[in-house]
């Protein structure tokens, strides 16, 4: 599919979705409004809320804080996940011993931990970053851990026979081989970084999109809630495009997908 075609189709999907939303939120079907406006608002209201935010400029302050938190959570969580993932994969004993504990920690409801983060990190951005990190870290960690273990035995043996020490194996064999695993987890965790930041703000803050959403929710302003979530999602796409760019650059060596061949 050509690039303009693709953009057109994407636009079409958006338009159809919005139209359906508007329809079901305003026109009763079988005497019942399927998406009651009290819970779903409607695209027009949400859109005008977004326009108002941007035209008045109030959104920027909040948006920048949330983006900054998300990016920090994403970067710190990913780096942590990659490092620990590599470490575990290369130290099978450590991994075996700590394996159940990692899984236990991953199952802790982060919402409950919020007061502890506030205690340690205050009410500023860092407690939100921490919340995001606890989500991103595990997603990246599990994938990198598995990715490193998936290295082809022959290629690994070749590295060994070429005289690579552990550090060089890491750089020339494990790292490039685990890259596609890593990037897959990064695509997942971009979203989770944002979720972490917003939920953190939602639980306690003075600014940020989560704060806006919470305020809107408090006065049953559903349009405001949805507007906040939309703005958020749109920016996730931007961060994700950045990840994709890096991915393309680092994975030039891959054969094109099989699709392109038949």
């Amino acid at each position: 599919m050509s690039r303009p075609m693709l953009l057109l189709s994407q636009l079409l999907v958006a338009v159809v979705a919005l139209a359906l939303w508007q329809f079901f939120a305003t026109v009763p079907v079988f005497g019942k409004i399927l998406l009651p406006p009290f819970f779903f608002s409607n695209p027009v209201d949400v859109g005008s809320q977004i326009v108002k935010w941007f035209s008045s400029g109030v959104i920027w302050k909040h948006l920048i804080i949330t983006l900054w938190e998300s990016i920090l959570a994403f970067v710190i969580g990913s780096i942590g996940g990659v490092l620990v993932g590599f470490w575990f994969a290369r130290q099978p004993r450590v991994a075996a011993v700590f394996d159940p504990y990692v899984k236990m920690v991953n199952a802790l409801p982060r919402v409950v931990l919020a007061p502890i983060f506030t205690l340690w990190l205050g009410l500023g951005i860092w407690s939100k970053v921490a919340l995001g990190v606890t989500l991103v870290f595990f997603i990246v960690f599990f994938n990198v851990y598995q990715g490193v273990k998936e290295v082809s035995n022959t290629v690994l043996d070749n590295g060994r026979m070429l005289g690579m020490n552990e550090r060089q194996l890491m750089r020339h064999v494990y790292w490039p081989s685990a890259l596609s695993w890593m990037f897959s987890s990064l695509h997942t965790s971009v979203g989770f970084a944002v979720v972490g930041a917003v939920v953190g703000e939602y639980l306690g803050s003075a600014a940020g999109l989560g704060y806006l959403i919470q305020q809107a929710e408090g006065v049953f302003d559903v349009a405001g809630v949805f507007a906040g979530m939309f703005v958020l999602s749109a920016f996730v796409i931007l961060i994700d495009m950045g990840v994709t760019l890096v991915e393309r650059r680092l994975l030039v060596w891959r054969p094109a997908a099989a699709e392109g061949r038949g």
Partner: protein, 320 residues
């Protein structure tokens, strides 16, 4: 003079019960009194309290009952200005159960929503049940929060009744004008009927240690709130709404105004604690929590009117 900076943790800024804290900021009362205040919104009163105990905020703007509750945990907290003289808790019957549930007694064996198990709303329910001669555990308690979840659960009849706060109550009343209300502590009448006196709701409180080491700030905050309360009672609901930040009012201005009108009587005129109210809080919590009942709490240590009285002297506020 250099302004000192104070962070106030609000236990859910959107609740109308906390309005004076926000309004004071909008009116510039804090600056006038000589403190720079940052308001931080937390999900609920207990989160705000934890933020203060953990040292990331200085003062809680939240329900006074936590001071009593935590006295049982050997945490010394003290309120220094009360801005809600009624708690504003409303026991509402689900629109679809209006015919079945006529009084609190009918709640036995029913599903009743509270904001969260263990919260003030939960204790309020237990107290009401007990007062009406029922076992406090005879109703099944379901946590539904305070916002849209609670409204949805009520509208769909997933719960039979709920303890709610404004603006949720007003929202329900908007779509169900004949909404059955079993107890409405936004009003003086019901509050007196239920608790036998004024019952403190929202207050500024913090650790005794902080109060003792920051007398100047405490006084300034008290002054600001007392002045704001005076302002509220000398202005119309429309004027109050006009002062509130747009985000907090939301798009449905009529709803907000209606809820505000329902709530205004609940704001204190003086900022003072009614000692009987404090006793009532202890009574309510002793009912629901054996731990509180056993703890031998000296409730007078959990509040002080010293600063309010000082405020009234210095600012010579006109309200009575």
């Amino acid at each position: 003079t250099a302004q000192s900076k104070v962070t106030i943790a609000v236990g859910g800024g959107a609740c109308l019960c906390y309005l004076p804290t926000v309004l004071a900021k909008q009116l510039g009362e804090y600056e006038k009194a000589g403190v720079a205040v940052e308001l931080v919104d937390l999900k609920g009163g207990s989160d705000a309290l934890k933020a203060v105990l953990g040292g990331s905020a200085d003062v809680v703007s939240g329900y006074f009952d936590h001071c009593v509750n935590l006295a049982a945990k050997k945490q010394e907290l003290q309120s220094f200005v009360i801005y809600d003289r009624y708690p504003g808790l409303v026991l509402v019957v689900s629109p679809s159960r209006t015919s079945e549930i006529k009084s609190v007694k009918d709640l036995a064996g029913k599903k009743v929503g509270v904001s969260a198990p263990g919260s003030s709303t939960d204790f309020f329910l237990k107290y009401l049940l007990k007062k009406n001669g029922l076992d406090p555990t005879s109703a099944a308690v379901i946590g539904v929060g305070l916002g849209a979840t609670a409204v949805a659960a009520m509208q769909q009849g997933q719960i039979d009744a709920a303890v709610m706060l404004d603006p949720s109550v007003t929202v329900l009343q908007g779509s169900h004008p004949d909404l059955k209300i079993l107890a409405d502590t936004r009003t003086q009448k019901d509050t007196l009927a239920v608790f036998g006196g004024e019952y403190p709701g929202g207050a500024l409180y913090t650790t005794t240690a902080w109060i003792n080491s920051h007398e100047k700030e405490v006084q300034a905050l008290t002054n600001a709130i007392v002045n704001t309360l005076a302002w509220i009672h000398s202005h119309s609901p429309e004027e109050i709404m006009a002062k509130m930040p747009e985000g907090m009012v939301g798009k449905d201005k009529e709803l907000y105004l209606a809820a505000l009108k329902n709530t205004i009587p609940m704001y204190s005129e003086t900022g003072k604690m009614d000692p009987k109210g404090a006793e009532a809080v202890l009574a309510v919590f002793s009912e629901g929590s054996p731990e509180v009942a056993k703890a031998n709490i000296d409730v007078t240590k959990t509040w002080t009117n010293k600063y309010v009285e000082q405020a009234r002297k210095t600012t010579g506020t006109s309200s009575k």
